[in-house]
Point group: C2
Chain length 205, copies 2
């Protein structure tokens, strides 16, 4: 766990609390954490779900491995230490968004169980639901899709420590949802996720 360095700090409880923001939005903050190989369709399903939620007047926000790395995590690379810090920070941001009442869609490879479990605990400790969604896709299939040409580069040795090639992907042991991306259509995936949110009561305050 990351050490707390600063002392002389106090938690400010504002007059407006999470529950009030949720009432304003007519929904509950929740993090949907998509994890899976590059090419497993994490961002694609997050974009489609975002649209489906918007059509129902719900506010969601996508945190994406690529766009986060251009901003807050631009000073992090792909070493084991930096990967862990990358996921930790994203987890903290996702939690903050949920506290604001926002449905947060995080799509990162996030290959290590330990890192994902830290993010889960951050949420659980704050009483915020965390939904781990495993984008089940064989390496063979992900490599065949290779939408960004990254597997090709990794096989050619142009990218090092690439998940699935020369860095491991640790499958979730107890994910809330498994999406078998080789069996389901995008529409089915979105329907399944929307129904899950409805059933869990996240689409009302």
């Amino acid at each position: 766990m990351t050490e707390q360095k600063a002392t002389n700090i106090h938690w400010h409880h504002g007059a407006v609390e999470r529950q009030h923001r949720q009432q304003l939005l007519g929904q509950k903050g929740v993090t949907l954490w998509f994890t899976g190989l590059s090419g497993s369709g994490k961002s694609t399903v997050a974009v489609a779900l975002e649209q489906a939620l918007f059509d129902k007047k719900h506010l969601s926000y996508r945190l994406d491995g690529d766009n986060i790395r251009m901003g807050i995590n631009k000073n992090l690379g792909f070493s084991a230490e930096d990967r862990a810090e990358n996921i930790r920070r994203i987890g903290e941001i996702a939690k903050l968004y949920c506290d604001a009442g926002v449905i947060t869609l995080s799509s990162f490879v996030s290959p290590y169980r330990e890192d994902r479990d830290i993010v889960r605990k951050l949420h659980e400790d704050a009483g915020i639901p965390f939904v781990e969604i495993f984008m089940k896709t064989s390496l063979e299939e992900a490599e065949k899709r290779d939408p960004k040409g990254l597997y090709k580069k990794a096989r050619a040795g142009e990218i090092k420590n690439f998940t699935g090639i020369d860095d491991p992907y640790e499958e979730p042991l107890n994910p809330e949802i498994v999406l078998d991306t080789e069996q389901l259509t995008l529409e089915q995936e979105v329907e399944l996720l929307t129904k899950y949110l409805e059933d869990q009561g996240n689409l009302s305050a």
Copy 2:
């Protein structure tokens, strides 16, 4: 500027854009950046403004020096380097919230002009309004208030590098708003800020 370490990254443009989220919320994302000495009333006015905005059905979220430091920035201390990284990360988070359509209230001492200007540029480059609010308070008055007893500890040498005592506070040169906290009541401050947001068109989409 912070170096961009990761390569092979791409910016994902989702189907749902900032403008759509703003329409859903009936407001525009904006960062109100409160800066000033410890004891100048940054958090107090942010809490009161949050309540006033909520009463008008607007979604805002407070980023606070104290609560941020317990989460995403828990691995940062108070060295010059860590202070700069603290503010940079907060600026990136504020920008992300604005992109989600949220009115973001940031209350940090943020004593250095250079750090605040980096945050301003982050926002301007993304086409997001940044409102720097200088909580004008003399050191004498701030030290007299000393709500957390921190000046007393700093004077006793128990806290080092404390802004105003043994670390400088660089006043904003061109802040959008100056609140003279020794002249204005809290109610007047909130009224002034609310009117500013209305006049700038931030309280409609």
